[in-house]
Chain length 190, copies 2
Amino acid sequence: MRRPASTPPASEERDERPDGAGGPEATDDNAANEEFAALSSQSPTPDSQRMLTLFMDLGRFRSLRDPLASICEDLNLTPTQVHALVWLGHDGPMHVGVLAQRIGITKKTITGVVDRLAEMGTVERTRDTEDRRAVVARLTPSGTQLSERIARTMDAGVRQLLSLMAAEDRDALFGMLERILARLRARQAE
Amino acid sequence: MRRPASTPPASEERDERPDGAGGPEATDDNAANEEFAALSSQSPTPDSQRMLTLFMDLGRFRSLRDPLASICEDLNLTPTQVHALVWLGHDGPMHVGVLAQRIGITKKTITGVVDRLAEMGTVERTRDTEDRRAVVARLTPSGTQLSERIARTMDAGVRQLLSLMAAEDRDALFGMLERILARLRARQAE
DNA sequence: TATTGTTATACTCTATAACTATA
DNA sequence: TATAGTTATAGAGTATAACAATA
């Protein structure tokens, strides 16, 4: 899964992997990367340690590995497949390269993922008439049905989380997340 | 990765996969499962839909797939390996079965994971003298060093998140998470 | 008999490298 | 030349099934 542990970085020909993959189009995460490098050289703060401890404690109740893992179990899908179906259901048809960005995998990997989704009849490929190099992935009716089922399960998970919170905490959380989002968007616009 | 898509459930002989895997010892997630089944049959609420929209919007900036993905990149480790090292570093030596629970994989899978970690010299196996069936995994000095490096990177990620929030929001979030945790613990104690 | 792990098998995910088609 | 995807190859993750050792 990883490089053979002996291959040198060879940073020239590497496939772009926009991990902090941003807006609908390209993103410049250079600034974000530099910021993170600066942060990495600094020391933990009381706040960051407190937050990490909370995360680990929560991880004892629900695995931190993949929030969508339980959905995969029930529907007999892999995490990657679930993420692909969720994004296609939420945003509609898109280039497979963009889909790869959303999921957080490379363009080489997305080919096989879309292959298998197409084989099971949930996704179909078409060529973009504008740019004939590009391949557009789109949900089939059966895939739409499946993605809606996933969305319902995700919604139930969210309701389970919300049921653990008092009403005022819920409202506070919404405001908090919206402010974080506004910051991210402002930073992206730069 | 999944079952061959044709195998019947055969719910008798299946390996236990405690996805909501709880405390240090066994957990009864029967109650939690029943509650979730009840939630799944209900409809989305304005709150749950608002929350889901926020999640998806955040997912455009940072892939929702695995929060630790970027650490894997840098250190040339897989997500599963990172999670194993994090838990062993945080909680100390433990039975490989417990480690599997923490990560969210089955006991069949943990064997290969620990195999590879042992090959790269970060983890070693010993027998539990109390229960000679059980195998204890423990970090080597080199593994401890690596897990500390991962912890520092995680801390930087947390500081990056906190830097997006106002001081009062940070305090509010801590209180919120602590109350959620208290609820989970109370429910577990039942 | 029940529990803890391991082994064997098969499929999926993933990255690297080399390639094709289009811009 | 640069970009969007695909193909080929190989290592790692994962589940099912069958098994061994211990309780």
